[in-house]
Amino acid sequence: MIATEQRDGAQTLLKCLEAGGIEVIFGYSGGAALPIFDALETAGTNIKFILTRHEQGAAHMADGYARATGKPACVLVTSGPGAGNTITGIMTAHMDSIPMIIISGQQVTWMLGKDAFQEADIFGITMPIVKHSYLVKDSEDIPRVTKEALHIATTGRPGPVLIDMPKNISQGPCTASLDVDIDLPGYHPESSFEVDSDAVAAAATALKASKRPVILAGHGAMLAHAGPELKELAETCGIPVTSTLLGKGIFDETHELSLGMLGMHGTAYANKAIVEADLIFNVGSRFDDRIIGQPDKFGRNATILHIDIDPSEMGKMIRPDLKIVGDAKVILAELNKHIEPLETTEWLATLDGYKKRFPLHYKKQGGLKMQHVLDVLDRLTDSRAVITTDVGQHQMWSAQFNKSRDPWNWISSGGAGTMGFGFPAAIGAQIGRPDDIVVAVVGDGGFQMTLFELSTAVLQKLPVKILVLNNHFLGMVRQWQELFFDNRKSGVDLEGNPDFVKLAESYGAKGFQIKRPADIEKVLSRALEYNDGPCLINCEVVKEDNVFPMIPAGAALEDMIIEKPKQKMAKPVGST
């Protein structure tokens, strides 16, 4: 135990982080963060430090850790380029509401704004991509700032909070008590737990009047741990459930009421359910453009109920008929007191018909398919593995064929769409859940953006499985070029890929190869059983294949295409 009078700012910081529930810090050292790195050795905390190979890797690992455990994660980097390298990671966490504390070392206070060595105004640079941020200018503020940062990151709609810590502040003495009060007069997340009973009653009435209801479960339901309440609502009333990409697993996708994921590459039956529903009950989704397509056509024949913890999401994309602001778990628990079975037999039969007519499908012949690999992976893991992904075709097929049965198992960069996210996120997830199977499903493009973290995974002896779905292309962009740009391939050919198996082996990881459909089951089984550190499975999949169903960006859900049309398609009006 360090006596108060001997405690410096850095030691105080670590003690406060530990008291606030931080168990692991992911990071990379540097000059301005030296006192904090020294405190890792001297503060006497049990916080585990994971040295990464790049600050972006650290941020994604922390993100993956938070998404797999529900606990806040922490990143520690130095000033200037160190802090700058975390930006993609912070943005990714911010878009997907992930609780994260980023501590950046900073130049000494009297050098701020003077273009000192490795000085960057990271407080200013990150302002649009954090929930909140601090530039600490007095060592005595450290206990309050740390406590506030953790409180802000983990309550309400979670998000990343940055603490910029000048070197003289972390080095200076701190006599302030560790047990200080927070001072946030403008922040009242506790109000999320006050239920508007009138609104809940109105929701119950709307449900009763509905003949074709559908529940749209989003990440907010996950973050609120609302799975049991959602299940009770769906089962009691007989309401089918579709989820967003980030909502995968909040409702068991093998459940007969599950429609899987909706949206741009969602299942045909989920999208048809939304189009034909007379009531859309959005629980904790922000009506992202990937799921609503053309906003003025979305759910235009339906009553729309929207639960969200963030008032600014109400009417941002879709104006609901009824909004209930607050915590999804508390609201659904209250609603469940008022519900009764609905007559939805006919509706469910209609949707079952769609499931049979428009199933997710692929051909097992004609080369190795990503879908086939992912389908077998799902079967071999009984849909129970933690899956992380990058962004692109492999992500969408993984979302389609990996049936998420449990919450906190599906980890994917949704809002930001960050390539290079999947592998480091898997490392973070495996550190948070050492006993579970963690598979990073990545493409050859995204993997090469952060593959240097193989060192980190090997050093930590983490049994992460890296499934490289290698088509030697940036597949999703190539798909768009094929469909909308006369198949002109521009900037998508990844010629010069390394031999990923040899690459893994050179880092000291195990490498596997899948080249034929016949190899899938045998090789995947061996890889899943391999627990002696990380392993990489390189899958030489067919080079050109397209993800369907597809709703071209900005098109309405009813304009979904199930397979590649014969005629040329107009360029989408939506963004990307």
Binding site: H132, L135, P185, G315, K316
Partner: protein
């Protein structure tokens, strides 16, 4: 068809030229801390809205500041901006007072290019608007005018004929009448 408003709310490009939208007056009570102004300005700029006037001053309680922001644009867009301002940790409250019962005042300093010749007429106009003469020089006058923004516009308009050398306006400050809180 339900009673919902069908279209998406937030066109980034305004349908009309910006100056054709009514001026909204938004009052924000904030923590008096570094960076707060930048955070609020970012909420406006990210949506493509221009801040027309801005007054920042200490609030009645220590540790807080009052920002009064004038901006033009789609009302629904400004609603979204208001909601996003309210989300900022450093924002205590954020209200659009456009349709409220408020008193709204502004102050302007106007340096008018007037010598001995037109001075009498200029001072007569100034008196009509209740202006205070702050400086009298051989070739210029500095006048102070206070009141609502329309009155300031009218006074400045009347001074145009003499030539305005410099103009500084504070931007509008507002307060709700009676029991309502700003």
């Amino acid at each position: 068809m339900t009673n919902r408003i069908e279209t998406t709310d937030l066109p980034l490009t305004l349908e009309l030229p910006e100056h054709e939208y009514p001026l909204h007056t938004i009052s924000v009570l904030v923590n008096n801390k570094p960076g707060v102004l930048a955070r609020i300005a970012q909420v406006f700029s990210r949506r493509g809205y221009n801040i027309e006037s801005l007054v920042v001053s200490p609030a009645a309680e220590a540790d807080f500041s009052r920002m009064t922001i004038g901006a033009r644009g789609e009302a629904s867009g400004l609603d979204q901006i208001k909601a996003q301002c309210n989300k900022l940790i450093d924002v205590i409250s954020c209200y659009d007072h456009t349709d409220d019962e408020i008193v709204a005042k502004e102050l302007a300093l106007v340096k008018v290019a007037v010598g001995a010749e037109g001075r009498g007429e200029a001072l007569q106009i100034a008196e009509h608007f209740g202006c205070k003469t702050l400086d009298l020089a051989p070739e210029s006058l500095v006048l102070m005018v206070t009141g609502d923004s329309g009155k300031l516009d009218a006074m400045i308009g009347m001074m145009q004929k003499f030539g305005i050398i410099e103009l500084v306006r504070t931007g509008k400050v507002v307060m709700t009448r009676g029991k309502g809180m700003t």
